[in-house]
Symmetry: C2
Subunit: 372 residues, 2 copies
């Protein structure tokens, strides 16, 4: 039904095509984040215009607001938000663990309190798959425990074992769901283990044993140094099959895309390009700038003169910086559109370089200009 095909390889980096019920996604790809069934400030048609094929949404947040029934009543998440591309939904594990000091974990699942109204809820691995099935997600994530950094080795190990147990339950339940929902999405497993190489290996082995449509690396970019993260990724990917997509959760920057694709990652998501955009930070081919800085008040060039987005084709830094100074929403829109276009186009540039066998030259070129 759904499948992943590797097309080109260049070192450990590779291009591929991921088929979902909502189209083909060329990998490596960057997925804009639309936590609450909206990529903040943008319309679905703008996301289509910049070439986004898949966005990420969030089980925890949508379960609490607007709630499952309202999305079910709309005929699923795609129809609710009128997005015709693919949707990956995070399981909510990360949110349960990062936003809930009072959570209670058992073998069955996790009890947590809503950050909105303090109401109590219980997520089981099965329930999280059920919710995502009702959403109609193209790619569902298993419930996992995401540990902070730094974390003691012992806790990291018991946590990865719990995550693997939950993953097993998720898979069993998913198999049942495939009978109930004829056109169900894919299910991805999540590899944990903090920054401990052997624990990452153990988590990978346990997760692979269960068998998923794709494998995600969780618990990274949570405070550890960049180089350590890159090493963990490199180490972990040695244990993953080549014929399944590898998704690095919550990462990252333009630099991260190059570094992690080089190590074999296929899929990325991160709030940074959109969140920072709303704070005035814009990506350009020459590096980051902040449009709120005084020097842009009279700069009548576009954010990035080599960019083809609506913002760069039509508006100057002077105008957008004026919008930021006045807290005008159009400023947030234009810069978000620009930054997400930057990430989507950067992914394409990376894919092209792999297909052309000059990934390393292109990476070098990028950093020569980007870091100056």
């Amino acid at each position: 039904m759904t499948s992943f095909i590797v097309k080109n390889e260049c070192g450990a980096s590779r291009t591929g095509i991921l088929h979902t019920r909502h189209g083909e996604i060329e990998t490596p790809c960057f997925m804009p984040v639309g936590t609450l069934a909206t990529v903040k400030t943008l319309s679905p048609s703008e996301l289509e215009d910049i070439g986004a094929k898949i966005i990420l949404s969030n089980t925890y947040h949508l379960y609490l607001r607007p709630g499952l029934k309202i999305i079910e009543g709309a005929g699923g998440l795609h129809r609710f938000m009128n997005w015709k591309g693919s949707i990956l939904t995070d399981s909510g594990g990360f949110q349960v663990f990062s936003m809930n000091a009072l959570r209670k974990i058992t073998g069955q699942g996790v009890e947590f309190t809503s950050h909105l109204d303090g109401s109590k809820h219980f997520f089981t691995p099965e329930k999280v798959v059920e919710i995502q099935s009702v959403f109609g997600s193209d790619i569902m994530m298993v419930l996992d425990e995401c540990v902070p950094y730094p974390v003691e080795r012992e806790y990291a190990r018991s946590s990865l074992i719990l995550t693997a147990e939950w993953a097993k339950k998720s898979k069993v339940f998913y198999e049942l769901c495939t009978k109930k929902y004829s056109d169900i999405g894919m299910l991805f497993g999540i590899i944990q283990g903090s920054v401990y190489e052997d624990l990452r290996k153990e988590s990978a082995v346990r997760t692979l044993e269960i068998g998923f449509d794709g494998y995600a690396l969780g618990g990274l970019s949570v405070g550890e140094p960049n180089e350590l993260m890159y090493d963990v990724i490199f180490g972990t990917l040695q244990h993953l099959p080549v014929n399944k997509p590898r998704y690095l959760m919550g990462v990252g920057t333009p630099e991260d895309l190059w570094e992690c694709v080089e190590r074999g990652i296929d899929m990325f998501d991160c709030v940074l390009p959109s969140r920072n955009a709303r704070n005035g930070q814009a990506f350009t081919s020459a590096g980051k700038i902040n449009l709120k800085n005084a020097c842009f008040k009279t700069d009548y060039s576009p954010i990035d003169s080599s960019c083809d987005c609506y913002a760069c084709r039509n508006f100057t830094r002077a105008y957008i910086s004026h919008l930021f100074r006045c807290n005008e929403i159009l400023g947030l829109r234009l810069n978000t559109l620009h930054n997400l276009n930057f990430m989507v186009k950067l992914s394409k540039r990376i894919r092209d370089s792999i297909a052309n066998g000059n990934f390393f030259q292109e990476k070098k070129k990028f950093f020569e200009i980007y870091r100056r």
Copy 2:
């Protein structure tokens, strides 16, 4: 160069075409408000899509931020904000008087303090024309004193005389500017006089003596009862020539459009459709609704099923109300787009009814459904 032609009449209502350097505007028309060189939440291309031909911007606000030099450096206001349609700029008189408790008025002009940083500034009638010439406004407004409601007759009279003196200076200076700026926009005079019929007449006579490309009614919709406003409009318009456009400043609601066109108004502007949109209030053919209300949580119909805007073609009340509940910017965008489309399309419906000679039947039809 620029001109106004009356095309159809039906009672006191009429349709016309206003030619500016940036195109033809069919009247009666509603002008979306873009105070700070942006119609809040929307892009210029969205304004084009809904059929807006002219927007309003504000001399006071733009003079303070980003300042004249930055707009001049961009090549004028149209290029600064990338708006290809027409722009009318209010003189800033209203803002100077409504936002500045410490203003000082003299025959020469008015001293005021910036609401942003408390800095002192002085507007003369000449300076305000100069600023708007540099902006490249298609329609410039003279500096006027806008009195509050209620106001004593004596103050209203001395104020209208001051406004007329300033108007004279504005006109003299404008004539000089026509030599300096080859392609200068039109200049409109403003009629004051509060709710006193004879003072409105006096103001009209004084303003007509000077002679302008169009005549605005200022100082209305500032707290007086609706019926009183309609009466003042009716009374004042008796003294205005038929061959010049009549602009009712800061008005109004969908109901106001019908009532005031009936009395002979050609042009409107108001922040209400966009400001209320951001608070969740949406216009529909059946009346106003507030999308934040609980009843819309599971309402899978569009805001207005008879509406052709992007919001109504693609999204449900349930989704947009979810966006409002989550404070998501897309909610503000979609509802603003819808409300402004409503006003622009309502203006067209009114024009068509005048052209077809059935204004009164259409007005009756509108209110039968709108008020139910």
